[in-house]
């Protein structure tokens, strides 16, 4: 009987209507208003197109043309999640599966008093004033249609508030898992972090896709880094090979604060990752590291923007890409030094390794400097594996494929040197080797 073969989910599935605003029952008026405004913005401007400078190389028309469905309830067991956790990492944990928060899988024991770590919707009920004071306060709706869409349709995500002077010693692991589904699904995830003065925390967002379903993750993470706070943020993209991931990290930093952001874009059919950092006060430090591996027909686009609005700030960016087969990558690094932002020290580096004839990279630094006493450096390189290095390894008995693997991994390895957490570093090392489809025995070499 045909009816029996029809998945039950499909009978209840709701198409994702971009232009309709599904306000959850009982939602606060201020939030309804925010959603409404964002929706109007999206309806007016629509999806970004390649006619816009910021989207010149990244075409997202497949997203606009595909009918996506809203997430349906998925239940997973602790055992099913265990294999996706970072091995041996002692961390706090929140788990989202197919766009649904999994209450029973959270691991919050030992969280210092006063720290709030929960699902965003729970925070809206428990801490409405705190959420209202911070939500959408950094991420500019007007930046591009996808942020507006996220604000209009945000479904779930995590909320973290670390009060003043609290330094979290354990990292916070956030799993966003997508499993095999019958229908193309979209996850509009919204995360909000408030790091109060002199606080310290580490976030590890891990987006993992298994199966071959077309799904679309659209995320927006807003982080308020108050004066003297230190935030380390990891974004691991291991979406499935048929998934679309569009995500923005929006950070606002107070005086003497420090942000270290690391992006590891390893999996996904199309990835567009924006990092927008605003230094709102003096003596702010921002470090952005990124590694992207594009092969097959993968397309990975990183856009970073650092806004030096005040003096004595520093920023350092290192993005490296390995592009193979017909993979394509984009890097655009904007550094804005405003008129009042004297004594800024900004450095940006983008290095790319092209491993095939068809591989492509479009890299562009974008420096806009309006202050006169600043130090701004930038550099971009595109190259192949070094023939002398290859020969040197082979002349010592290593076969050509192993020599190539070692040099390719060594190129990526520089980004791992910024990862102090040993368990996380080991995990990332494995993920990178796997994505590069390299012989795991080369791990012994590095």
């Amino acid at each position: 009987m045909i009816m029996n073969t029809l998945p039950t989910m499909q009978q209840h599935a709701t198409p994702f209507n971009l232009q309709n605003n599904p306000v959850p029952a009982g939602e606060q008026l201020w939030l309804q208003q925010i959603r409404q405004n964002a929706l109007q913005h999206f309806v007016k401007h629509g999806f970004p197109t390649t006619r816009q400078e910021d989207w010149k190389y990244t075409k997202i028309t497949p997203l606009a043309e595909q009918v996506y469905y809203l997430p349906t309830r998925t239940q997973v067991s602790a055992e099913q999640i265990a294999e996706h956790l970072i091995p041996n990492l002692d961390s706090y944990l929140l788990v989202f599966v197919n766009g649904q928060y999994q209450t029973e899988l959270a691991e919050l024991s030992g969280l210092p008093a006063g720290v709030i770590l929960c699902e965003l919707t729970e925070a809206l009920t428990q801490q409405p004033a705190l959420v209202q004071a911070h939500l959408t306060k950094i991420a500019a709706t007007a930046k591009h249609g996808l942020s507006a869409l996220n604000t209009a349709h945000m479904q779930t995500g995590y909320f973290l508030h670390v009060p003043a002077n609290i330094k979290l010693t354990k990292p916070i692991q956030l799993i966003f898992l997508s499993t095999e589904q019958e229908l193309p699904t979209t996850y509009q995830l919204r995360n909000l972090v408030i790091a109060d003065t002199h606080s310290k925390l580490t976030l590890i967002e891990n987006y993992i896709g298994i199966g071959s379903t077309n799904y679309w993750t659209n995320t927006l993470t807003e982080i308020h880094v108050e004066d003297h706070a230190q935030v380390e943020h990891f974004k691991l993209l291991q979406e499935s090979q048929s998934a679309y991931h569009t995500g923005t990290l929006s950070v606002q930093q107070g005086a003497h604060s420090q942000l270290n952001s690391h992006s590891f874009a390893l999996g996904g059919r199309l990835i567009r990752s924006d990092s927008d950092i605003v230094q709102t006060a003096e003596y702010v430090s921002s470090e952005l590291n990124g590694l992207y591996l594009a092969k097959g027909k993968q397309h990975i686009d990183h856009h970073t923007s650092i806004d030096h609005a005040q003096a004595y700030g520093s920023s350092r960016e290192l993005y490296k890409g390995i592009i193979d087969e017909q993979g394509r990558a984009v890097f655009n690094g904007r550094v804005l030094v405003r008129q009042d932002a004297q004594k800024i020290n900004a450095a940006q580096t983008n290095k790319n390794l092209l491993l095939s004839e068809q591989a492509e990279i479009d890299t562009k630094p974008q420096l806009e400097i309006y202050a006169d006493d600043v130090k701004c450096a930038h550099g971009a390189t595109v190259g192949q594996l070094n023939a002398s290095e290859l020969f040197y390894l082979r002349s010592r008995g290593l076969n050509e494929q192993t020599a190539r693997s070692i040099l390719t991994f060594a190129f990526a390895n520089e980004l791992l040197e910024f990862v102090n957490q040993i368990q996380l570093r080991n995990y990332l090392r494995h993920c990178i080797i796997q994505q590069l489809a390299q012989d795991p025995t080369i791990l012994e070499m590095l």
Partner: protein, 249 residues
């Protein structure tokens, strides 16, 4: 062990080697000397399979194998080792892991088991002591930021570990002070044995004060123009290369 017959090689269509003939037997130490640009380094690089050179004529046999048809890694596994004139820096690959991979690959080719981590480390440290290298160098990227002398010692360290049948040293003495030169020479002498052959490519005689060769060859214009014993090197030291190259012209 090594037989070179009428070897011609080009780089970028320019002829560098123009008919080299050389026989190297087990237990022998040969020194190849000659003025700059004579083709000494080219010869060493051609023997290890550097791809920039095109072989246009001639034959090279190593033991019973046609050397010119072997990939660089096959030559290494067969027991040929070149200590490079300009060792390459490899950022991101630690020296210890590089040594481990090289040694285990060469051991596998000889039918020997992989060394476990402890034995390997002990062996590496022993050899490091022999070339007076600080163990800290094990945990740095291969040759990265090493001084000229440190790089040369790292080459000799690799040679001592891999125990090649045929060791080629390309200007390993250049840029070394007298103490470093002695260390390098001691390393090479430690490797001398009736089963092994050593070919030293050098511009100067001074290395030969410490590693006494059985044969000295003068390479000029891509050919060996004179061969002799160690006394030939002394003659060259006193008179330069002029008398030989002019006599030939």
């Amino acid at each position: 062990m090594l037989t070179i017959k009428n070897l011609h090689a080009n780089i970028d269509d320019k002829a560098i080697l123009k008919g080299i003939n050389l026989q190297v037997n087990p237990g022998e130490v040969h020194a190849i000397m000659g003025p700059n640009g004579s083709g000494k380094s080219t010869l060493a690089n051609v023997l290890v399979g550097r791809e920039e050179y095109q072989i246009t004529q001639g034959e090279v046999r190593f033991e019973d194998q046609d050397l010119l048809n072997m990939a660089p890694e096959e030559r290494a596994r067969a027991g040929i080792f070149l200590a490079f004139q300009y060792p390459v820096e490899i950022p991101g690959v630690s020296n210890i892991n590089f040594l481990k991979a090289a040694l285990n690959n060469v051991r596998a080719a000889r039918g020997l088991a992989k060394l476990d981590a402890i034995d390997l480390l002990q062996q590496v440290k022993d050899k490091m002591q022999q070339v007076k290298m600080n163990p800290d160098f094990l945990y740095r990227s291969v040759n990265e930021g090493f001084s000229g002398g440190e790089k040369k010692r790292n080459e000799v360290l690799q040679m001592l570990l891999l125990e090649p049948k045929l060791a080629l040293l390309d200007e390993t003495d250049s840029g070394l002070d007298i103490d470093a030169l002695k260390i390098v020479a001691d390393g090479v002498n430690a490797l001398r044995s009736p089963e092994r052959a050593i070919v030293l490519v050098t511009h100067y005689q001074r290395l030969l004060d410490y590693i006494v060769p059985d044969f000295v060859h003068v390479l000029s214009g891509g050919q060996i123009i004179k061969s002799g014993d160690k006394n030939l090197a002394l003659e060259l030291e006193q008179q330069g290369y002029g008398w030989l190259t002019e006599a030939r012209a």
